[in-house]
Amino acid sequence: MINNKTKNVAFNALVKKAIDVLMFPLIAILLGLFVAVFFVMWAKNLGFIDGTATLFSAIWEGTFGKRANFIETLVAMTPLIFTGLAHSVAFRTGLFNIGVEGQFIMGMLAAALIGLIPGIPAPIHVTLVLLGGLIFGAVWAAIPGYLKAKVGTNEVVNTIMMNFIAMNVSNYFVKGPIHREGSASSKMILESAQLYRFLSPSERVNVGLFIGIALIFVIYWLLWKTTIGYELRAVGLNMHAAEYGGINSKKNIILAMVISGAIAGLGGAAHVAGTIHKAHQLVGFTNYGFDGIAVALLAKSHPIGVLFSSLLFGGLNSSARILQKFRIPKQIVYIIQGIIIIFVAADYIYKWLKEKKKKEAIKNA
């Protein structure tokens, strides 16, 4: 009886927690769409009902409504799974790895380079490409991680610098040694280095999507079922208690950066091997790394959440083109994304303030 009662209470607490966790992201998304409706009304001179209808049917068509568009949604989502996960791991350890962008680029570069090596049988070649991306990304993140742990320099500043270096390193190769004449990109990687496109060779969605989804569960398992995750999260939540418990926080800071960078690098390699088959010259950043910040924030740094938030952001990105068909400026999509981010950020600030208040209450135990 008593046991039952406590179980019930525990269950209720769980439901309450779930609502608590999911509520704000959902509200943020709805508000984002709501505000976007007004822009549509304004841009197209429509009433509220018509505006809503137009926007929603456009977004629906652009994301799921047509086979081709749905495929593009999945294509756009794939790199965001990786970068969203990469940010989540760092956030959980109390780090902000803005360098995911650069690590992603290094992953792309690794794939573009390794993908050109002739004479390797397909399964091995693909594996090498992915492994290369993973290692490039990991190394690129390990440098600022090491500096943070040993010298105490801020990872945010260092990773931003590493992003620029990555961009220029990539451009050096893409414009030089592996440049394809008359193009703004590298040579096509060999067929043996390409990830399988499971629908048809001309439809860009590829096995990279499944690798990403599998990785979601791997990271979930890593964070909550292994000693490695226990240590990473402990360091992220209370470094002093972690140290007291024999956990080496410096080691874990480096490890978190390496894992984060490896995921990002893997994502970059999968992007080249599966979707674009070459590396482009970069005039600016790819933005996959930066969009990953929003993906992770909306997902509350939870791997499972990344699945949904990457789908949302991927869908919005891919629907941008379709909107123009409806004569809705595609910038509407960025407005929606921006508003979601602002609300999620506001939620964080609100939580932070509440936490501060609660800390006063708890401290006073």
Partner: protein, 514 residues
């Protein structure tokens, strides 16, 4: 008598617990009213409600006879209610005066600049009025905990508090500081202030208070006049059974040296020498207590032994195994466990569940994990065992540690560290913030460890505790051990002299130094 506060039928429910169950509480003008109760009885929750940090689920609050709705601390402050938390909330690199005026700064004529001259003058006047001995210009991190607490009280007074809530203010104070605080409280009451005091120390209840309200498991048991009761009755009323206030222990069966410390030296956080050559031995089967005024190197000594601070000289040896400057992990594995001084900083990851916290420091050991895979079934059972054995009051083992009352957090940490069954158990302030029933139990368990042949190093600012538990007492002063005495051959006075840096006559001071 005029009632300044009246709380009627206050109920507060947290997931799985009723923290306050229909609580009635009143505070009269000019009285010191103690709120007494077991760990987790709901004292802090009730006061957080009064200070506006929590909203009650039911019940009414009257201030000076008027029904009020306190939505946040700023409301409470506006009504003249001030609260001093057990862990202070001061800005460490600000001066005393700056901290006190923070949030209600006096402005210069045009309202742009903070008027520091006025601030310092105001603070000084206030301090003098109530007999606080603090310098408005000193920096917070340079003053003692006792002084910091005075700053907290001054801060509340500066904001016009007529009613002062003090939540376990004496838990971190030395006996002298407690006495000073007692005097200050008396001065405040003389000026017409009214005070609510939470404390677990029955001696203080008897000395300081006019009335006592006893709460147990969220309900009020009774409100009594202090002069009508004695310590034993109070203990029984709060715990619901007779409590043995003296520690019972058999003579020690002392064995080999377990911990040997030789000429240990270390710096403090300001990089100044703090440990200046500590020599110490702890043997199996004994409790060695370290007595000393706060800030004489006790904290640093424990930190060096446990690997959290670097030694700049000397050695730490456990059973012949040199552990000097080894990583905390190696030291834990060598068999040292530690109930840490600061439970929020070191003892717990507050946002981890109790289950996760139960294996902090052992998470990578069998049976809790195998390879990198954690076995949460085993860990959960372990957490349940800790909770049961040490009577930790919690709805279940899945709540995060931050949701426990302070005393229950402490019990949980003690449970974890004692249950590790180490070679050397370092207990730093092991009973800080515990109720008498819980203290009795922890003391019993520490004595049990000793009787099992373990070595116990007890570091406590409470002389009573050191004297009751220890077999030998080492007095620490200015980074050195200045004397080691047999617990049953010494007394408070002797220890007091040594703790203040004095010397006993030679024969006595040397008699037990090996």
């Amino acid at each position: 008598m005029e009632k300044v506060i009246e709380m009627r039928g206050i109920t507060k429910i947290f997931p799985g617990v009723i923290a306050n169950d229909n609580v009635d509480f009143e505070l009269r003008k000019g009285e010191i009213h103690v709120l007494l109760g077991e760990n987790g009885a709901g004292k802090t929750t009730l006061m957080n409600i009064l200070y506006g940090l929590y909203q009650p689920d039911k019940g009414e609050i009257y201030v000076n006879g008027k029904k009020v709705n306190i939505k946040g601390p700023s409301d409470a402050i506006a009504m003249g209610i001030g609260m001093v938390h057990q862990h202070f909330m001061l800005v460490h690199n600000f001066t005393v005066a700056e901290n006190i005026i923070l949030g209600s700064e006096p402005k210069t004529a045009f309202g742009f600049k903070i008027d520091y001259k006025k601030a310092i003058k105001d603070v000084k006047e206030l301090a003098d009025k109530y007999g606080f001995n603090v310098d408005p210009n000193s920096i917070i991190e340079d003053i003692t905990v006792g002084q910091q607490q005075k700053v907290e009280i001054l801060k509340a007074l500066y904001r016009g508090a007529e009613i002062l809530i003090l939540d376990e203010p004496t838990a971190v104070l030395t006996p002298q500081e407690i006495e000073e605080l007692g005097q200050i409280l008396k001065n405040l009451v003389k000026e017409g202030k009214s005070i609510i005091l939470i404390t677990h120390k029955l001696k203080e209840v008897m000395n300081m208070s006019d009335r006592v309200t006893i709460v147990r498991r969220g309900k009020v048991v009774d409100t009594v006049n202090t002069k009508d009761v004695d310590m034993d009755t109070l203990a029984e009323m709060m715990v619901g059974r007779k409590v043995n206030l003296v520690v019972e222990k058999k003579p020690a069966k002392v064995g080999d040296v377990v911990l040997k410390i030789e000429n240990l030296q270390a710096l403090d956080h300001r990089k100044l020498p703090k440990l200046k050559g500590v020599d110490l031995e702890v043997r199996s089967g004994e409790i060695l207590g370290i007595a000393g005024v706060d800030g004489n190197g006790q904290t640093e000594l424990v930190e060096v032994i446990t690997g959290l601070r670097r030694a700049t000289g000397g050695r730490v040896i456990l059973k012949g195994n040199d552990l000097t400057n080894r990583a905390p992990k190696e030291i834990i594995e060598a068999g040292i466990s530690n109930i840490p001084e600061d439970r929020h900083k070191h003892g717990l990851v507050l946002k981890f569940s109790l289950t996760e916290n139960a294996v902090l420091g052992q998470h990578d050991k069998e049976p809790f994990s195998k390879g990198i895979i954690m076995n949460y079934d085993v860990i959960r059972e372990h957490a349940k065992k800790l909770i049961n054995d040490f009577d930790v009051r919690t709805p279940n083992e899945e709540v995060h540690a931050g949701a426990l009352s302070g005393g229950n957090q402490q019990k949980f940490i003690a449970a974890r560290e004692i249950t590790k069954d180490p070679e050397l158990l370092i207990a730093t302030q092991p009973t800080r913030g515990l109720d008498v029933g819980a203290i009795e139990y922890i003391h019993k368990r520490l004595v049990e460890e000793r009787d099992k042949g373990k070595a116990v190093l007890l570091v406590s600012l409470e002389l009573d505790e050191v004297m009751a538990l220890s077999d030998r007492i080492a007095v620490m002063y200015d980074g050195k051990i200045v004397g080691i005495l047999d617990a049953d051959k010494t007394n408070e006075m002797e220890l007091g002299i040594l703790m203040a840096g004095g010397t006993l006559n030679k024969k006595e001071g040397e008699h037990d130094k090996q």
